[in-house]
Amino acid sequence: MATYALQLPVRRTLPAHSKHKIPTKTFVAGYLTDVVPASVNGDAQLACAPSRESYSSRDQVEAAIRDSARLLQLKANWDDEGARPVDHRSYSRAIDFLRRGDSIRILGGASLPVPRISACNDGSVDLHWNLPKRELVVNIPATDQAFATFYGDEREDNPIKGKISLDSDQSWLFHWLA
């Protein structure tokens, strides 16, 4: 398993002079047609699921984060098969990680898609981006460890996977996604 600690090469479609500047039209033309509010309906459903292709405003990222706070209300055995409650520290680390990614978007002028924020039965938290060409999951474990695992690919091709520190800059991962 590869462990990525350094920034990956900048995506080929980006201008060579600016690794953070991603043309807005790319996103408008490609993905913005399916933007929906990142809201959760009123029943017991707890996963936060915006449109899978949404590139949306900072407000929508924050709305997804607010909705995902419901994950913290999950009691032991929330799936009737022994699932553990979501670890509050894991949840906080996941949200901090997401907000850092969102700030990168703001600084670089590109959009960060809104991920699905969901719980696993071991109390860990998944951040899952499912885009037309690329898909990425980052799992923040239900422990004190400062590493998260990730896996991403381009519809089964060119996979990346490994562990990342949650305490350091991982902007390359968001740029890979974009």
Binding site: A47, N121, H128, V137, T149, Y151, D153
Partner: protein, 124 residues
């Protein structure tokens, strides 16, 4: 042992129960549905379609009405790296099988299982 273990053909279907808590607003199962249980189980419990229907799989849940069932093709699952499918019958369930993941902390298998899953019953 009540039932003998058999080899599951690649073309056969596997049925996986998905609790409502693992279903997103758009009706898609999220990745949590494809995680092994946190008790150290080697993999995901599924039913071999040869010996169980989707409805029987759903009814085996503690609260069936809160569960849907997705179907996976055995050969598609075996194609995922570090993943195997084994028939593990138990006395009260001849269909019981396991999707065994050799590195359960790896997120790859969850993403790829989700891609290959199709609803048979549900989502709840």
């Amino acid at each position: 042992m009540c039932w003998s273990k058999e080899e599951i053909p690649n073309s056969d279907g596997l049925l996986l129960r998905v609790h409502k808590q693992y279903v997103d607003n758009d009706g898609e199962p999220n990745l949590g549905a494809f995680s092994p249980k946190p008790d150290g189980a080697p993999g995901l419990s599924v039913n071999w379609e040869k010996y169980a229907t989707a409805e029987e799989t759903r009814q085996a849940a503690h609260r069936p009405h809160l569960n849907g069932v997705v179907r996976l093709i055995t050969g598609d699952v075996r194609f995922i790296p570090n993943t195997a499918v084994e028939h593990e019958p138990v006395c009260d369930n001849r269909a019981h099988s396991e999707i065994v993941v050799s590195s359960p902390e790896d997120d790859e298998h969850r993403l790829k299982l989700k891609r290959r899953a199709a609803w048979v019953i549900g989502p709840p």
